[in-house]
Symmetry: D2
Subunit: 334 residues, 4 copies
């Protein structure tokens, strides 16, 4: 941590800063520049110290040098984390596609989607039983009955299931049915929920908060890892910007960026980020080319999302791009 004194700060103020730092058992390392005096803080830094120092008289700013996340950082663990979902490996050299309907609505819908996405090469079935909705008047999902239908689709197709959990008290129930537990973008700083899935022993698909920085996202992962669950899959799903032509702005530079900061697998959601069916295929191809370990796609036959045929076509094209960047078929790599 580095603390910068104001230009017109006094010697007394500098002494005050030094005393405060040393009161926490930390060491001070002084550096007097042409324009500023800079105070290096050495030792076991805690994040609250930033606010504490910034409020002292004479202090211009405090800059954190160490990253506040540890278990999720590549510096902590250099090898890529590879997570198994059925016979697919997420985080290695495979491209793993998760697909299915956004919300589970009835048996026929789930089963037909499961068969269609499997036939096209998807390795994991997605489907929502608990749906976060901005309006209290919207359909909020089938609940446990939706979980049962997903389980039935797994039985029929062998595809593992990823589905969202919205509240700490539902974690046990969702854990009983799901193969991968999803944390949605609106819950990415629901810390009690992150604590709760940290105690589960199944992979967690952690969507980026739509206004979360890379650091906040990795800190959310840190909650799960610190809870003892080391199977976290990160998912870029678009951030909120001034552009309203798409629902959110998919940040594909997050893919290589997160791969450089963290050992955790990272996938992309081209459906919810763009909110427009005609952008799903190009953004899937782009995510693959950018190095994503997988994608999660809304597929259903009917009005919304990709239809089965469009999805099958997208899969063919995604495989070609995947091959061009050196990926192997899902289920054959590590």
């Amino acid at each position: 941590m580095i603390e910068v004194m104001k230009k017109d700060s006094t010697q007394d103020q500098l002494e005050g800063v030094k005393a405060r730092i040393e009161s926490h058992g930390l060491e001070v390392h002084l550096s007097e520049g042409v324009e500023r005096t800079v105070v290096g803080v050495l030792g076991q830094i805690f994040i609250e110290l930033k606010d504490e120092l910034e409020s002292l008289p004479g202090v211009l700013e405090v800059i954190l040098i160490s990253k506040p996340y540890k278990l999720s950082s590549r510096e902590f663990k250099n090898e890529d984390t590879v997570i198994k979902g059925g016979d697919a490996h997420i985080g290695g050299d495979e491209l793993v596609v998760m697909a299915g309907p956004c919300a589970v609505e009835d048996e026929d819908q789930v089963l037909s989607a499961a068969h269609a996405v499997k036939a096209a090469g998807a390795k994991i079935l997605r489907g929502g039983a608990f749906k976060p909705r901005s309006s209290p008047y919207s359909f909020r999902g089938m609940g446990v009955e939706g979980l049962r239908l997903l389980a039935k689709a797994r039985e029929e197709t062998g595809l593992p299931i990823v589905t969202e959990v919205m509240s700490p008290e539902d974690v046990g129930m969702v854990d009983a049915y799901a193969d991968i537990l999803q944390i949605g973008t609106r819950n990415s700083q629901n810390f009690n929920l992150l604590d709760a899935v940290g105690k589960v022993r199944k992979p967690v698909l952690l969507k980026r908060g739509f206004s979360a920085t890379y650091e906040e996202w990795l800190l959310a992962a840190e909650y799960v890892l610190a809870g003892g669950n080391d199977q976290v899959i990160l998912c870029e799903r678009g951030i909120r910007t001034f552009e309203t032509g798409t629902r959110f702005t998919i940040d594909l530079s997050a893919i290589p960026m997160i791969k450089s900061l963290s050992h955790l697998p990272v996938i992309a959601d081209p459906s919810h980020s763009t909110g427009r069916a005609h952008l799903v295929t190009p953004m899937t191809l782009a995510a693959v080319a950018a190095g994503a370990h997988g994608v999660i796609v809304d597929v259903r036959d009917g009005a919304q999302a990709l239809t089965f045929d469009t999805f099958a076509d997208m899969m063919t094209r995604a495989k070609a791009v995947a091959q061009s960047v050196g990926k192997v078929p899902a289920g054959t790599g590590r």
Copy 2:
């Protein structure tokens, strides 16, 4: 709801759209412009219809005309909602100041802060027992012991307490101690938590999500109102923008804007929005001049936030501004 056809859409596509609308028992109203055909949808609109229509062939875009929130809208209830907190009235012509330490740390800290803010004219004591923290390694609050200290401060000073609740399963416990339950910015779309405080019969202080639109914010309030709790106080606490010179960007136009859209009281948080002590007083004065029904301020004696003296000075100045815009002393109005 209005649906706009693409320029090169066919008559068949138009018929498809009309059929879909009518299948939901809604009426179609056609309007053929020079460049576009526009389809008005009449009847009891549901929000999911937008996505549904937007995915049909030939459709350019769908525009919502009605607001998706009802109980929180001024069209639903024209008179201002005034909420009592102790002897103060939030939502009327008083300026109500809530003040205290961000996090409760020990008895002495809470009691001295409570006495100091009361002496300066604050009407409600704030203090956090459960603290949402972006890092799992930060101090996450004293929990129930913090609630007990707040209750003790209330006993000594007579100030009602506002404190945060973070999880549905804690609502009962916090309700047993608090006079006003606070929902933090990171939980503003934690829908299970909103449901839970909707069942409580005490005022809820609902912070704006730092990336929530006005509409999403009012929909969050709608969750609480729809649950049967009609005492919601809205709090502007800064939104996330590209500017990093302040922690968040306080959106003071939200004050008159929300007052025009909703009957609910609206206050401002100049501390967490700016993240800088020297901006708290000017932003408090600005919020008052903009018409805020109150402010909630971090005050503690020591390193961070406003000191007791600075707070007392701010109160004197805020009262002068309040008077200049026609407010009466807190506790004397309605």
Copy 3:
């Protein structure tokens, strides 16, 4: 254009709105919904009418249905515009790479870069002689001497030149040297400059303003097209968001989005958008997979940007991705 009346608006207010619309020679088309009265405006709409109507009493909001840009829209011209730069075709089925140093510094630097990028397969040489700099104390480019060095590099390698013009009075001079004139992100709403390059008869590379919406970006192109210059190449170069981990956030969904809205070619700038060398290759591959007609990349041997070797490696990988999405070698397509 559609105008929505407030719920509590009066018949008189509605008459006022109708009168105002008709005073401009436009037709009114009324639609009375359950909650709102909606007024369709038919005829030759002008964009200022929105503000005019929104200020009338009783008006809730005004919604534009027609796009404000015409010449740049795909509805105006359905076939893709293909622009020649040397023997490369920008806008067709080729992947055209523009590469070179960000700022021209000396002869040796430009010539060695020109030879290196040509050897690796680049088709157009980029280099800045006039540099927009946020600080007045930074090096602002070599000016006309830089243009001469670029011309010399063209002579030696045969590569056409793309270089930035910053001011209307420089357009003639830059036009005398450059093959493609570049408008930088900070000048994307410098309307006098857009007017000036509209009179040139050479291709214009128009960078997206870093806070421009798709609509504003296409309106900037419209300025050039309306001036009589129909050779505009659009370039996504990152938008400003809350994320500071990258310099800007590259918006790759802009690639397919702009291709659906406009017939103009669209390329990406993976260097300036990310500001980080290790992200240039993955974002180049992603842009290609997303359907970009080309990329523009900073390449120089030395400290910054991609080195010659890294660039050559990137080119090999970009060609593989290009092939996987059906592109042909640059110079062989249309």
Copy 4:
């Protein structure tokens, strides 16, 4: 400037960094922390060094400690700059209101507005003769004829004129008529234009770019100051955020923030920032309470902006707020 080495960087990489710094005649100051080695750079820093160092192997990040602007900083000049406009003092303890029509349309409009705003207490007349428009098909102002009408209004009322200049070649012409030259938000990084008004000897009203950080805004001012013109008035006019309920988000924390960073006067534009007439008065009052040295308001009788009556009412209320925060009547202070 501070450079942070990666955790796994080698001694050789550190030597490389040191050599590079010393090659520029700068001094190195080493600090080895528990987790990172930090290199302080001492001497006359130049801003490009950041990019240069960040591209060296082993470098994690480079942090600027000194502010890149000098002449506009409060550290350079501690006393407030006060700028005279007619008999008003902008930057001292007066509240100076600039008002008038957004665009000059005809003589009657300008003269009646000038008389009305003067009667209500405005001290400076605003009006646009050159209008930046996002669409090339919109009315782009009356040009020099508009300047003549403004001059006539000045003659009749004695009010000095502030009006926008859009292009370096127009600076002479606008300078011949205007008392204060305005640089619009879209030209806030039009560096050639900033250079040009730096050579003028009249006050420049510099609007914040709608996506400019505080630092970029002050660097834009620095261009003007570095050109030799020390009369710059800064104007907060809203920034672009995700919120679309207002046209832009007015950032009122910019008022006290800029006052702490710079000695230059700072005013607010409540009209263009909000884009909604009913927000102009509350945002004016808020800006005054926040400490703004003035406001610039759109006023015209008719459809848009504030009407004369609303403006007069706003002035009465603004004066009360101004008095409550210790301002004196415009024209009587310093």
